[in-house]
Amino acid sequence: MPTVAYREALNQAMAEEMERDDRIFLMGEEVGHYDGAYKVSKGLLARFGEKRVVDTPIAEGGFVGVGIGAAMVGLRPIIELMTWNFSLVAADQLINNAAKIRQMSGGQFTLPVVFRGPGGSAHQLAAQHSQSTEALWAHIPGLKVVMPANPKDAKGLLKSAIRDDNPIVFIEGEVLYGDQGEIPEGEYTIPLGVGEVKRQGKDITIIGWSKMVKLALAAAEQLATEGIEVEVVDPRTIRPLDEELLVASVKKTGRCLIVEEGWPFNGVGAEIAYRIGKACFDDLDAPVERLTGADMPMPYNHHLEAQCVPDIARTVAAVKRLLYLE
């Protein structure tokens, strides 16, 4: 199996799908002549030309709307948001138009459009550039929310997202772009709404997505040296959520820690915790725990920033608390 970077996996997914279907085009800030602010679209302009790889002005509300309109009449746009922090100026288009047009039209119009770009905090980008927006979008019926954790998932899920007939919020990990990973030879897709057990274990379940999967696996490694067997489960798609997989794991381990980069209040972890608390009411040996980003805007200072997002030490400590080892 070839080893590629997360960034390259996304690039392959777009290139392969654009090759396959000329209704697909990529539009966004700097996606073309600049080869992408994060180089995810590298080489696509050269390969597909200005018609299908389109640079835009800084007008997210405008070109997100363009994507919606183009999708309504049969094209299959991929709209890149330079980062999801900037999606907020397009919130009305995503929530009031993208998510609702199918329903308001009585099913006459479908919107095969993917909105993609990096999310989450990186390094010292401060409050306006360090946000996890998945909790906002997952709240909205009509949208699907996908968050791949590694190159294999990134490619397989993006291909499925592009082929899906619904508006998709596809959030990539800004700090994952350089991560290397094996991907299957040739053509493959990963269905939306299907999670994956990233590591088997019997003592406790850690649920995480996007870059938190990496963190959970690292914590699991460390805990393994102390004889604690952690099961790491990645829903991969936030909406629709693979509740079955999550519940099955927790029923097995009896304990659950949810690790989320974003803010706690009404976070995705709250929804997952509620569902597990209910489905596993008689199986839980301890209440479901959440380890989340701090409930405050992200500070610029790097030490403070580090303390505002989950890390290995606090993940390990939370697991031990759940196992009553501390």
Binding site: K51, G61, G69, M104, S105, Q108, K144
Partner: protein
């Protein structure tokens, strides 16, 4: 009453070529829209349905004249005040009224209602409730036409109130930058809800905005369906042949309140009466008379329309509602 300066912006008004059949057709359409909305107002008063109901009464010549310039393949997108546009694009009165009644036989299966009429088959891309929010979508459908080279034109209707929205700026700017085949039609009825133009725009000549985007503009009064057709026609040709957008401001007036709940106290009786003298339907009738259309024929139209509406109301009354069990299939496409 603010009669618009006759400062005629290009394109100049052409010597008008009109044939009788067309006049009759436009008159029929305007009248059907008028009677349909009167019937809707009555049904609303009788609590046949709820929600908002924004009547177009007084503005009929705009939708009819503008959409008369289109081919069936062309796209139309509008606001929540879109009953006329849906009808002019070919949506049967039955489907419109049934939609208001919330019936499964409505164009949107009763899920959209008055503000959200949609008709995929006739390329009517919907009525939208967020002021200005549909303008970027219009740029998107025009983008698709250019992408495919299918020669289609998108007509985007919005009110004077939308001009203050960021979505107007972004949608028009992208269309201008990418030279998209779209015509932006601002139906300037002088008020956004209770707010007169001068309290919402520093420059009340909306067409001036075109200067900042470098696109063609036009501006005229909207009571004459033929003028609307001819002037909008110029812009549609520009879009179809040169793939260039145009911003058109058409001055018009709504005779009723913003919606059924609006008492309209912000306008004087005199002002409303003055404008009623320029009723597009009365004007259309005068055109028929000038063209020597026999009175009998005009009366026949009236009768025909009346019957059409009555049947449609009955149809709506008798239609079934969508079952709750089926609702979820409209949130996501399988």
């Amino acid at each position: 009453m603010s009669r618009i300066e006759r400062e005629v912006v290009e394109p100049r008004e052409k010597a008008r070529s009109v044939d009788k059949a067309q006049l009759v057709h436009y008159y029929h359409q305007m009248l059907a829209i008028r009677r349909m909305e009167e019937a809707l107002a009555k049904a609303y008063a009788l609590r046949k349905f709820g929600g908002f109901l924004h009547l177009y009464i007084g503005q009929e010549a705009v939708a009819v004249g503008a959409i008369a310039t289109l081919k069936p393949d062309d796209y139309v997108i509008a606001t929540y005040r879109e009953h006329a546009h849906a009808y002019a694009k070919g949506m049967p009165v039955k489907q419109i009224i049934a939609e208001m009644y919330g019936k499964e036989t409505g164009c949107s299966k009763g899920l959209g209602g008055s503000m959200h009429l949609f008709d995929a088959a006739r390329n009517f891309l919907g009525g939208y409730g967020i002021v200005g929010g549909h303008i970027p979508i219009a740029a998107g459908t025009a983008y698709a036409s250019k992408y495919r080279g299918d020669g289609r034109v998108t007509l985007c209707f919005f009110g004077d109130g939308s001009v203050a929205q960021g979505a107007f700026h972004e949608g028009v700017a992208l269309a201008a930058l990418w030279r998209l085949p779209v015509v932006f039609i601002c139906e300037n009825n002088l008020y956004s809800m209770g707010t007169p133009l001068y309290r919402s725009l520093s420059v009340t000549d909306v067409s001036q905005k075109a200067l900042g985007y470098g696109i063609a503009r036009d501006r005229f009064d909207g009571e004459d369906v033929i003028r609307v057709r001819d002037r909008v026609g110029e812009a549609v040709r520009r879009a179809r042949n040169e793939s260039m957008p145009t911003l058109i401001e058409i001055r018009t007036y709504r005779f009723r309140g913003h919606s059924m709940s609006d008492a309209g106290l912000y306008r004087t009786k005199e002002e409303v009466e003055e404008w009623k003298k320029r009723d597009p339907i009365g004007y259309g009738r005068s055109l028929l008379e000038k063209a020597n259309v026999p009175e009998a024929e005009i009366v026949a139209i009236e009768t025909q329309v009346k019957q059409e509406i009555e049947e449609a109301v009955q149809f709506a009354e008798d239609s079934p509602e969508l079952a709750f069990e089926r609702l979820s299939e409209f949130t996501y496409k399988e």
